[in-house]
């Protein structure tokens, strides 16, 4: 097992963003982390790199990567992993790039730091990667400032940076949400091509079930910080069990809004909006139960 996350709990001050979430990721596997905004999916992704924005804290749990406990690692060793062994493709490419420096400089930071390449050597590596990403004139792109590139080009640059040091774990945090649909399709194709070539295990954070269907092997559904269902992608799409997953997959409108947890849940977080709510749903938090091969659900119905 490449990555094992157990009982991960993350707090932002008085707000419990993730509650006892657990999942595993094998070599070359793609896990889709799905949920609506505020469900905690990006927080889980950031926690894997221990890069939570303030005042985020990992309160409890364990993250084991290649046999090493990431939560016990000193910051210096963690820095040696970030960008090298574990890479991140962020959601907003404009915010992720420094507007004051040319692409060539920032895109070669990871190669300089982790691989000891000179800037010139680094630019050579990046140019080849950018050409692979379908950028017609990579040398020109490396000379540009971020604002001179289109959104699609910027996201290609960030994907190239993520792949530059040959990571074994990739966290892709909604890498195409800010793009137009035709650009999104191109980027997803490129990303999936690179991923299957390099066999990098991927945590793909998204709210789009279409992306999940085409790019992932397994799916974990998050709701109000809780993992409510986990199963192979095929199973999630054809035989979802949790009422929330069924609403997502069946495109059913739901009334109400997702609650924000303050403390450990005393009830099912979905009960307010659930069409199949029972008395017990308001008095006890349902634990994850196994309901089939690799299929777990947190719902009192099962």
């Amino acid at each position: 097992m490449l990555l094992q996350v157990k009982d991960l709990t993350v707090r932002y001050g008085g707000h419990l963003a993730v509650w006892e979430a657990g999942f595993t990721l094998g070599e070359g596997e793609v896990l889709g982390l799905v949920g609506e905004s505020g469900a905690g999916k990006s927080t889980v992704g950031r926690a894997l790199l221990r890069l939570l924005p303030e005042p985020g804290r990992i309160v409890s749990g364990a993250i084991t990567f290649k046999g090493r406990d990431l939560l016990a690692l000193p910051e210096a060793e963690l820095r040696a992993l970030r960008g090298a062994e574990i890479a991140l493709i962020p959601q907003d490419p404009l915010a992720a790039l420094n507007p004051a420096f040319r692409i060539g400089l920032q895109a070669t930071d990871a190669l300089a730091l982790h691989r000891g390449l000179s800037r010139r050597e680094g630019k050579g590596v990046m140019a080849r990667l950018l050409a692979r990403m379908g950028i017609a004139d990579p040398e020109d792109a490396l000379r540009r400032y971020p604002h001179e590139l289109s959104g699609g080009m910027r996201q290609r640059v960030l994907i190239a940076i993520a792949f530059s040091c040959g990571p074994s774990l990739l966290v892709a945090d909604e890498p195409t949400t800010s793009l137009d649909v035709t650009t999104q399709a191109q980027i997803l194709r490129l990303l999936d091509g690179l991923r299957s070539e390099t066999r990098v295990a991927t945590c793909f954070i998204t709210h789009d079930l279409g992306i999940v269907a085409h790019l992932t092997h397994r799916v974990a559904i998050l709701y109000a910080g809780c993992l409510v269902e986990q199963a192979p992608t095929e199973t999630i799409l054809t035989a979802p069990r949790h009422p929330y997953t069924r609403a997502l997959v069946g495109s059913l409108p739901l009334d109400g809004i997702m609650p924000a947890l303050q403390g450990p849940p005393q009830a099912c977080p979905f009960s307010d909006r659930c069409p199949e709510r029972m008395a017990i749903c308001d008095t006890a938090h349902p634990p994850l139960k196994s309901v089939g091969a690799g299929h777990q659900v947190a719902c009192h119905l099962y």
Binding site: A136, T182, D208, A247, V249, I257
Partner: protein, 318 residues
């Protein structure tokens, strides 16, 4: 079905200022023809930079047209003064994309929804009318006493819809109103729009980048590319068999969950050109997989290829 809105050869050009940029012109909307019947929904679909938002705003005269006609109920309003437009504004309203920016954070919801009633000096008990409007969009009447920040994105969009309904308009322009919303909330808002359309006898101009959303709400779809409509069709037909090469790419680019394992999106060459630098001939030709010599030289007009289906392409066939 009565014709409510007719747009002919509408153009909205922006002169780009600044002595560095010279006398360049951004052609946001560049010769659009469309019609909308009362109580119908026309969706305008396009990617960023296609001019769809400018088109919606120009039709409402929130942005000045450069050329062309906007005919509302037989009256060409494209040259009306703002004073003459004012009474007509009761009949056409808009809901904006960002419910965080379009609702004044310092006013209570009751005041926000009552604003159009005050501006147009509508007689009667405004407080009661506001309560009814809020309930009609699925909020409690007591919401009137709260501030916008106390509501979620979906609820704020409902407040904006209530404000647009206040004057009982015939036409509402809905500009990307579901783009910031989560999917289950989005579906709820779309269902509400369908209910309101029947109850208030509304026509919608539904502007969106999201073909999947458009499918559930619209009677007809117009696809925009670089300031022009490239295809217009009844909704089921355009999804069944898109005729313009751009619409085909657009549709094939959506990752459909049902098509798991067989998604093979076509690759468009490059990014969309800028509306400052519109290509010659067919504006889609530099990226079109089918482009031929004629496409580089002659701009295709919208042709009727099948009943109710118009396509601007030299090569498309029904």
């Amino acid at each position: 079905m009565a014709l409510l809105l007719e747009v002919r050869n509408l153009k909205t050009h922006y002169r780009l200022g600044g002595w560095l940029s010279g006398r360049r012109v951004l052609r946001a909307v560049d010769g659009v023809d469309l019609t909308l019947n009362s109580q119908q929904t026309l969706a305008v679909v396009g990617e960023s930079g296609s001019g769809k938002t400018t088109l919606g705003r120009t039709i409402l005269r929130l942005v000045e047209p450069t050329e062309g006609k906007i005919v509302l109920d037989g009256q060409d309003i494209s040259r009306f003064s703002q004073a003459r437009l004012r009474p007509l504004r009761r009949r056409m309203q808009i809901v904006f994309q960002h419910p965080y920016a379009s609702l004044n954070p310092r006013k209570r919801v009751g005041r926000i929804v009552a604003q159009p009633l005050r501006v147009h000096r509508v007689p009667g008990d405004h407080r009661r009318q506001v309560g009814e409007l809020l309930e009609r969009v699925g909020l409690p009447a007591s919401a009137a006493n709260h501030y916008p920040h106390e509501f979620s994105g979906g609820q704020r969009q409902r407040i904006a819809i209530a404000r647009a309904l206040a004057l009982r308009p015939d036409l509402i322009v809905l500009d990307e109103i579901t783009s910031g919303l989560d999917v289950t909330v989005k579906l709820r808002v779309l269902a509400l729009l369908n209910e309101l359309q029947a109850d208030f006898r509304l026509a919608y101009l539904f502007i969106s980048h999201d073909l999947a959303v458009v499918r559930t709400v619209s009677d007809r779809v117009a696809v925009m590319y670089l300031g022009r409509i490239v295809e217009e069709s009844p909704t089921p037909a355009i999804f069944e068999r898109p005729l313009h090469p751009y619409t085909q790419v657009l549709k094939a680019s959506i990752p459909e969950p049902a098509a798991r394992g067989s998604w093979n999106p076509p690759v468009l060459v490059g990014d969309a050109p800028s509306p400052v630098n519109v290509p010659s001939g067919c504006r889609f030709h530099p990226r079109c997989p089918l482009a031929q010599a004629i496409c580089r030289e002659v701009e295709p007009e919208l042709r009727e290829l099948a009943p109710g289906r118009r396509v601007a392409c030299h090569l498309a066939e029904a």
